[in-house]
């Protein structure tokens, strides 16, 4: 499972990045400015694959437990990295404020994030600056709102096909 050496010991770019351990996984909290730099360094350190990228809306849980120096913003972009050589995972949690829900794209470091970032934009409304195809992926192009946000009540939007003629 997880190797014993903390990543911060051998990846200098992680210097000054707040970190934590969650259920045995190493978690780092880079700022939006340093996010791509940290990911690039981790890629060089052997984390060649992004397992998962998703966004989380902490609207109702702004006071969640975070390292002291991390600002408690509404949105987070969570990236799970995987190193095949070490069979080890690392997680990045990037704070994204509500009034400016933009995050730099990881596409140019990990092209495998393309669909995942499109999904995060589609369902959570985080824009990924520099993404080559920032269109909706799961919902129709003209859908209004981002359904996974916590202030988007489920069932609030009438079913899209409501105006379609009935069976008789």
């Amino acid at each position: 499972m997880a190797s014993s050496t903390p990543l911060a010991w051998r990846v200098p770019e992680l210097d000054g990045v707040p970190s934590a351990v969650s259920c045995g996984d190493e978690v780092f909290f880079p700022t939006r400015e340093r996010y791509v730099e940290v990911a690039t360094a981790l890629r060089r350190a052997g984390f060649v694959t992004v397992s998962d990228l998703c966004a989380v809306d902490y609207l109702t849980h702004l006071d969640r437990a975070l390292p002291a120096e991390v600002p408690k913003t509404r949105f987070e972009v969570v990236v799970n990295l995987l190193s095949h050589a070490e069979a080890r995972r690392a997680r990045l949690r990037v704070m994204v404020p509500e009034d400016d829900p933009v995050c730099p794209t990881l596409f140019f470091v990990y092209p495998g994030t393309e669909n995942m970032e499109r999904e995060a934009y589609d369902l959570m409304g985080i824009r990924f600056a520099g993404h080559p195809d920032p269109s909706r992926i799961l919902l129709p192009q003209d859908w209004e709102g981002h359904p996974l946000r916590r202030d988007y009540g489920s069932g609030r939007v009438p079913v899209q096909f409501k105006k379609a003629p009935g069976p008789r």
């Binding site: 259920c23 998962d52 809306d57 902490y58 969570v78 596409f107 140019f108 092209p111 994030t113 393309e114």
Partner: protein, 464 residues
């Protein structure tokens, strides 16, 4: 287009006249070359160039592509055409729409358009309690429902830090390996069907049905079992399960020879799959591909071996790795994985421990029905569990298992209440679909269905 390139119009004329020889192909490549026609290893190209390489994806908004007035923009020079396959197409394995840009018969760029089966299951997962959650996730990948339940249960259990009795672990392993057999069987069936081997469809469905009949006996349902739940499994294996399982694996194992006769040694099948849809393993890694797709390209990555969960470190099995990375490798890897799963199931038959099939933690597992009548405490636990439910401490966790299609992950954020604050499922089909444009690029349109089928996307898994 800059003026030093050959004048447009020449190439398609030649194609039309049928004089499509090597020189014409070289010119065709020159015309369509965007600088990186050939794929170089990721280490050589660097990130920026790699990103351009992903120009294999057709980056036009869906609405523009549909707009007939915008046709000039897309069909402009008359050299290329955009062909739309699906969403209502039997070979796209559900409601997947593929847009391919063609020059002659060569695929230049392609883009999978998805979302037709999106039902907002992640949102639903936030509305349901942890007790109810398994009924939701099991509906995502309808060919491997038990793996979906497993990853959800493992995530909840990791948050709860609850121990699972050994028998529950081994029952889960048994069910998941049988599920892998049935999933690969239906894949072999549809793959054969896509390549016009219609008998294969019947063979695959026949084997799958054997497994589903056993599932029905154990869980009560053929699909959407809600069998693996946080804390263990819903019910113990029925009386005589060993004989049933033995019959299943014996029969499937013997019938795999039919697959070899029908497909493996079949010259037409081999011609259509060998050397088709090859990309280097480095690119697949960069595109986050997992599962048989990655293993067929020569990367020995199987979470059951590399990051063992359940009791996979206590059973003996081989990680199947291909060499060529073509459609045939992916077929061969899956077929061999069925044999490995049979091997694992036989070991489980020998080693199945006795004991509880779910944890005795009263905050997680409801008491037996009989206890409720005689114990006030049991009644309270039962009431609490079904009115509010399991309440894991606040935290976040990412758990991944090896589903038949690759890494199936669950990112769960708990806030201390009885419902997840956020449930995100990383589905292998959704992520592996990103590799399709890379696999199709430069290939022939006739190979498209073979390649698409070899990636094994399940649209319920893609769209969730």
């Amino acid at each position: 287009m800059s003026e030093d390139q050959p004048t447009t119009g020449q190439v398609p004329d030649q194609v039309r006249e049928g004089s499509y020889d090597a020189a014409a192909r070289a010119r065709l490549v020159a015309v369509t070359d965007e600088g990186t026609q050939q794929l170089a290893p990721v280490g050589v190209t660097g990130a920026t160039e790699l990103a351009i390489e992903k120009g294999g994806v057709l980056r036009i908004p869906e609405s523009d592509a549909l707009d007939p007035d915008a046709a000039d923009a897309t069909f402009g020079t008359g050299e290329t055409m955009i062909l739309n396959v699906g969403p209502q197409h039997p070979s796209t394995h559900g409601v997947l729409r593929m847009m391919v840009e063609l020059q002659g018969e060569t695929i230049l760029r392609s883009k999978p358009v998805i979302g037709y089966l999106h039902t907002g299951m992640e949102k639903t997962g936030e509305e349901l309690s942890y007790v109810q959650g398994a009924t939701n996730v099991t509906r995502m990948d309808y060919l491997a429902p038990l793996h979906n339940e497993l990853v959800y249960a493992l995530a909840v259990e990791k948050l709860l830090a609850v121990e699972i009795p050994p028998r529950a672990t081994w029952i889960r392993m048994l069910m998941c390996e049988l599920n892998r057999i049935s999933s690969h069987a239906i894949w072999a069936a549809t793959n054969g069907m896509d390549l016009a081997s219609t008998s294969m469809m019947i063979f695959g469905l026949r084997e799958r049905d054997l497994v589903l009949q056993f599932f029905e006996k154990v869980t009560g349902l053929r699909m959407n079992h809600n069998y693996i739940r946080p804390g263990g499994v819903a019910a113990d294996l029925p009386e005589g399960w060993e004989d049933d399982v033995e019959a299943v694996v014996d029969t499937v194992g013997a019938r795999l020879v039919d697959y070899d006769h029908l497909l493996t040694g079949q010259p037409i099948f081999r011609e259509r799959t060998e050397g088709v849809g090859v990309v280097p393993a480095e690119l697949l890694l960069a595109l986050s591909a997992t599962g048989p797709l990655l293993r067929a390209a020569g990367v020995p990555w199987d979470l059951r071996r590399q990051m063992p969960y359940l009791a996979y470190d206590e059973v003996d099995f081989d990680v199947i790795v291909g060499t060529a990375g073509d459609c045939f490798s992916r077929y061969a890897v899956r077929l061999a994985e069925v044999r490995e799963s049979i091997r694992i199931v036989r070991q489980i038959l020998e080693k199945m421990p006795s004991g509880d099939y779910r944890t005795q933690d009263k905050k997680v597992t409801p008491p037996p029905r009989a206890r409720i009548d005689e114990s006030m405490e049991a009644l309270i636990h039962h009431f609490k569990l079904f009115t509010s439910g399991i309440e894991p401490p606040a935290g976040e966790v990412y758990v991944a298992v090896e589903s038949p299609r690759g890494e199936l992950g669950c990112y769960l954020v708990a806030d201390g209440s009885n419902r997840p604050m956020r449930m995100h499922i990383r589905t292998p089909s959704f992520v592996n679909l990103q590799s399709v444009p890379a696999l199709l690029r430069g290939g022939l349109i006739a190979d498209m269905i073979a390649i698409l089928s070899s990636v094994d996307p399940v649209l319920g898994d893609v769209d969730r």
